[in-house]
Amino acid sequence: MTVALGVAGTAAVIVGLQPSAGPPQPPVSASASTPSPTSALTSGRARDAVGLSAKFLSRSRPVAIAIASIGVDAKTLVTLGKQADGSLQVPTDFGKAGWYTDGPAPGQFGPAVIVGHVDSANGPGIFYKLGALRPGATVNVRRADGSTARFSVDMVARYPKDRFPTNTVYGDTTQRAELRLITCGGGFDRKTGHYLDNVVAFAHLL
């Protein structure tokens, strides 16, 4: 009787402490921001230019995004800008992905940005499984001109929003055509109604 109560009690406590299933989270949690290549030297003499050799496509707006490994297959993307406070706008529809139109279009040189919700108040959003994306996975973005930009995932990281590495995500750090997929992650603060972290997948054009 004692043992049964003890075992059942322990089991209930352990189960009670297990989190119920939430959005998958990436294993990597990084918070260092990549510094720009800008030198701290102020010699006043510009360094000679470095020629680049990246593959990149013309500017054409994205019309569909497919990430087979995590079951994302969206046939439209909304357009996004910046909010008044300078942060990224987000889609009003939890089921739609959006792209940042002041940045490069997916396929162009530089970091193109596509954003989607991890969940709504009621259930999963379009990027619910983004945290399960793994390096080597393919992201296909079809463009209005009929071409498809194919990207390969390099890294999926999770950053605290209050220490967000702006330069790593939005800056010119890699000198090639790249893509950032952004959603929320980490703990959810029920008082503020916001997740504490962002999950960011980094990919490059194949």
Binding site: G9, T10, A21, S39, A49, G103, F109, T166
Partner: protein
């Protein structure tokens, strides 16, 4: 069968955030990027990206564009305090000669303030130094350590600076026109091809979740479990006392 029950300490596995790894490098004051798209009237089919990182009065820029005409492509950052801080509009084409010259675009984007050359001087005096710019249908290069005036560093971060890449291909009457900047050159060499306003990068993260799937702790199960353990302890202790007595 009597068995004493030991309550093992319960260890919660909390997600641990990795410690912040500070890097001892000066971070940029800000970064901005421009989408380069065809200037009205002149018929370029090119496109590209210009990215500028500002640290104090020093900038680093990256310029990448494709679909341009053959030949050299002078490229500059333009700014004018009283300019419109945008790429030219159709109404800027004033003399009905079927082309929008660099001068006609000035009310939109202002004067040259930085020449995005590959080597040497980067001031406006290098504006037409075609041998020090990129050439051909596709150009891509990056350059750092370029000094700019403080008001230019500010303008870049405030979305008031404009990147213009020049050099188009004309046929017919336009092919005979001379450059408004240097009559020894054809207009096609200096007319603006693609243009974009430098816009500050977003700051911070994105609010992309409402918590509908957020992990929860089941308070009911915790309470039941706690009661069960207390009851086990109680009966165990009672049994132990009974055994001794």
């Amino acid at each position: 069968m009597r068995r004493s029950m030991r309550l093992a300490p319960l260890v919660l596995a909390l997600p641990l955030a990795l410690p912040f790894i500070g890097v001892g490098t000066a971070y940029a004051d800000g970064s901005a990027s421009a989408n380069l798209t065809p200037v009205v009237v002149n018929g370029s089919t090119g496109s590209g990206t210009a990215m500028v990182t500002v640290t104090g009065n020093t900038i680093e820029f990256t310029l990448a564009a494709s679909g341009l005409a053959a030949g050299p492509h002078a490229a500059h950052i333009h700014f004018g305090a009283s300019a419109r801080h945008e790429c030219p509009a159709l109404s800027d084409e004033k003399d009905s000669d079927g082309r929008l010259s660099t001068t006609e675009g000035a009310p939109a984007y202002g004067a040259v303030v930085v020449s995005l050359t590959k080597t040497g001087d980067t001031s406006p005096t290098s504006g037409l130094a075609v041998d020090r710019f990129g050439s051909g249908p596709s150009i891509q290069y990056m350059r750092g350590g370029v000094t700019v005036a403080p008001e230019i560093a500010t303008a870049i971060q405030k979305g008031q600076a404009v990147v213009v890449v020049h050099g188009v291909s004309y046929t017919g009457a336009r092919a005979q026109a001379k450059s408004d900047l240097n009559p020894a050159l054809p207009a096609s060499a200096t007319d603006p091809a693609i243009c974009g306003v430098l816009s500050a990068s977003p700051s911070g993260g994105a609010a992309t979740g409402a918590g509908g799937t957020a992990p929860t702790q089941n308070e009911g199960l915790l309470a039941l479990g706690g009661v069960g353990l207390l009851a086990a302890a109680g009966t165990g202790a009672f049994a132990a006392r009974r055994a001794r007595s």
